[in-house]
């Protein structure tokens, strides 16, 4: 009799033990993949940055912080570091402002909204390396349509013209305009992502709170700044943080439009790591440059987790 009574307890335990085993077996491939191809390369990046390895001589000789010293004394690196911050902050501030307006527009109902949505999302949904090629042609030194409009309006090309007497602005050929161009394209690219994230936040605000505010006599701006904005803050920070990561560490727009030029005026950390580490084959310096992403990434990740946790609690 006792044996019969014990059997279910035993088998339940057995199943539980098995479930733990099963859980481990099922999660193992994903964890192994991440450890082998993200964790291990990350450690390898640190090791390379402490060595003087090149593709010609990949043997690992640890030289301590010498490579970092070389990188930090390189004026191009310092320029790239500065450019990365300018590129990221300028584009992300623009993105947030524009995304806020665009999200409010898309909250309204109007005919053809699905098509409008598709068109507005295009910059994010189309592959960026291909759409950047489209921009390269828009910024063409001779056939730029922006220049054509400026010429037609008499702003460009005449002897007294506001934007200069030359027939073209040479968008990607002048340091300031080149930086403005890559910032514009990056803004264009990230705007839909931020907009859709903000839209998700806006639709989650209960309608009656807004109605109550309106009944209490709050106008559009007051509702926007005192009701909507505070409730939207967690979502806005998420949008900003993702946009920040995707811009701070990316090089696609810069690579396609300017290759970091003219004279490194649009060089960013990511493109500099690429040119150093992959094209010039200096593994050590390339890895060291790329590792400068790490503090920024760690900071942003912590912030994302904090925001998500606070949103969950409240």
């Amino acid at each position: 009799m006792e044996g019969v009574e014990q059997a279910p307890v035993f088998s339940l335990r057995y199943v539980w033990e098995q479930e733990r085993l099963l859980a481990t077996v099922m999660i193992a491939p994903a964890v192994l993949y991440v450890v082998a191809l993200i964790g291990f390369p990350f450690v390898l990046a640190i090791v390379y940055s402490l060595s003087d390895a090149t593709t010609g001589d990949p043997a690992l000789r640890l030289v301590g912080l010498r490579t970092f010293g070389l990188v930090l004394r390189d004026p191009v690196f310092l320029k790239a570091l500065q450019n990365t911050f300018v590129f990221t902050l300028a584009s992300q501030v623009l993105v947030l402002v524009l995304a806020k307006i665009l999200a409010l527009v898309l909250m309204e109902d109007f005919p053809g909204k699905r098509l409008v949505r598709f068109l507005i999302l295009l910059p994010w949904t189309a592959p960026i390396s291909l759409s950047a090629i489209g921009w390269l042609w828009i910024f063409d030194s001779v056939f730029s349509p922006i220049d054509w409009i400026a010429r037609s309006l008499g702003l460009l090309g005449g002897p007294e013209a506001l934007l200069g007497s030359e027939p073209n602005l040479y968008w990607l050929g002048r340091p300031f305009l080149a930086m403005a161009s890559v910032i514009l394209v990056q803004t264009w690219r990230i705007l839909p992502l931020a907009t859709v994230i903000l839209l998700a936040g806006l639709t989650a605000i209960p309608r009656d709170i807004l109605d109550a505010a309106q009944v209490d006599g709050a106008g559009f701006w007051r509702r926007l700044f005192q009701v909507i904005m505070p409730m939207l803050l967690p979502v806005m920070s998420i949008a900003f943080l993702f946009g920040f990561v995707f811009t701070f560490t990316d090089m696609t727009v810069v690579y396609v439009l300017t290759r970091g030029g003219p004279v490194n005026s649009t060089q960013v950390l990511a493109s500099w790591a690429f040119f150093k580490g992959i094209e010039a084959g200096d593994l050590a310096q390339g890895a060291a440059v790329a590792l400068f992403f790490f503090p920024a990434l760690a900071g942003v990740t912590t912030l994302i987790l904090l925001v998500a946790r606070r949103a969950e609690v409240s």
Binding site: F110, G134, W137
Partner: protein
């Protein structure tokens, strides 16, 4: 008075929408018109660049398909995308199931941990990974991309799937377990059929993310015949200073629009994954 205000509001909304449409879609309009313009019309700085001043032509499209490796890039892209989708499904489905159903409390934390690896950028890893690739003798081969792309599809898709699995009531599988199904049996016969839309979503994402990827492909592959669309078009159709703008724009347009259409259909689910419950 009230009508006037409503009208003004409508006007402002339409004006803003129009501005954003022009901003967002102009590069694609520019690709479209360039792809079908005659060279003579295209390279005339005097003529209005926004319109066809001469009859349109299919010459660029013919050139793209007939005289470039474009079709080869498309095939390569599909091979890589298909393989990445398979690897992602095989690894992410069990992982997500295990994290939501079996792992208990640490499942959620581990899930967040896996998701966050999605934030580790290719530009941080491409140098060491290029050494790993050459050590494995996969340099210049599509296999290098098939091996590396799951590093960003698995974290993201596992996270998305966890959301889907969580929304399926536990009772349904528990019933199946009582009826004598094994855990795996319950997962395959009960949970997976209920999450087809979730699985379809990760198929789409794994595919579009690998199709859009640029940096790893640029770092690992330099042989023309092994390039994918995202690097083949920007690097191969431009030869030195000679830009074949017609075919180039045709290629960019033909490859981006289908991806964009499919992606837009699933974007809301993608965003739900991103905001991690911060909108609730």
């Amino acid at each position: 008075m009230k009508d006037l205000r409503a009208l003004r509001k409508k006007g402002a909304i339409y004006a803003a929408a129009l501005f954003f449409i022009c901003f967002g879609a102009f590069p694609f309009y520019w690709m479209l018109i360039t792809a079908f313009k005659r060279d003579h019309d295209l390279f005339n700085p005097e003529s209005n660049p926004f319109l066809f001043n001469e009859p349109s032509t299919l010459e660029h499209v013919r050139l793209l398909f007939g005289q470039t490796l474009f079709m080869k890039y498309v095939v390569n892209t599909f091979l890589v995308g298909g393989a990445v989708v398979l690897i992602t499904l095989v690894i992410a489905i069990p992982a997500a199931y295990s994290l939501t159903r079996l792992a208990g409390r640490w499942g959620e934390s581990l899930g967040v941990g896996i998701f966050l690896t999605y934030l580790v950028p290719p530009t941080l890893l491409f140098i060491p990974l290029s050494r790993v690739i050459s050590f494995l003798k996969l340099g210049e081969s599509l296999w290098s991309l098939i091996l590396v792309y799951p590093t960003f599809t698995i974290p993201f898709c596992t996270w998305l799937l966890m959301g889907f699995f969580k929304s399926i009531p536990r009772d349904i599988e528990e019933q199946a377990l009582i009826d004598g199904c094994t855990r795996i049996g319950a997962m395959v016969r009960v949970v997976l059929p209920l999450s087809t839309s979730g699985i379809l979503t990760i198929v789409i994402f794994a595919f579009t993310l690998s199709m859009q990827e640029f940096i790893y492909a640029l770092a690992f592959i330099s042989v023309s015949a092994h390039k994918t669309v995202s690097i083949g078009v920007p690097t191969e159709l431009v030869r030195g200073d000679v830009f074949r703008w017609g075919p180039l724009m045709a290629a960019a347009l033909i490859s981006s629009i289908p991806v964009a259409v499919v992606y837009s259909l699933f974007l809301d689910r993608f965003i739900a994954g991103f905001t991690m419950g911060a909108t609730k």
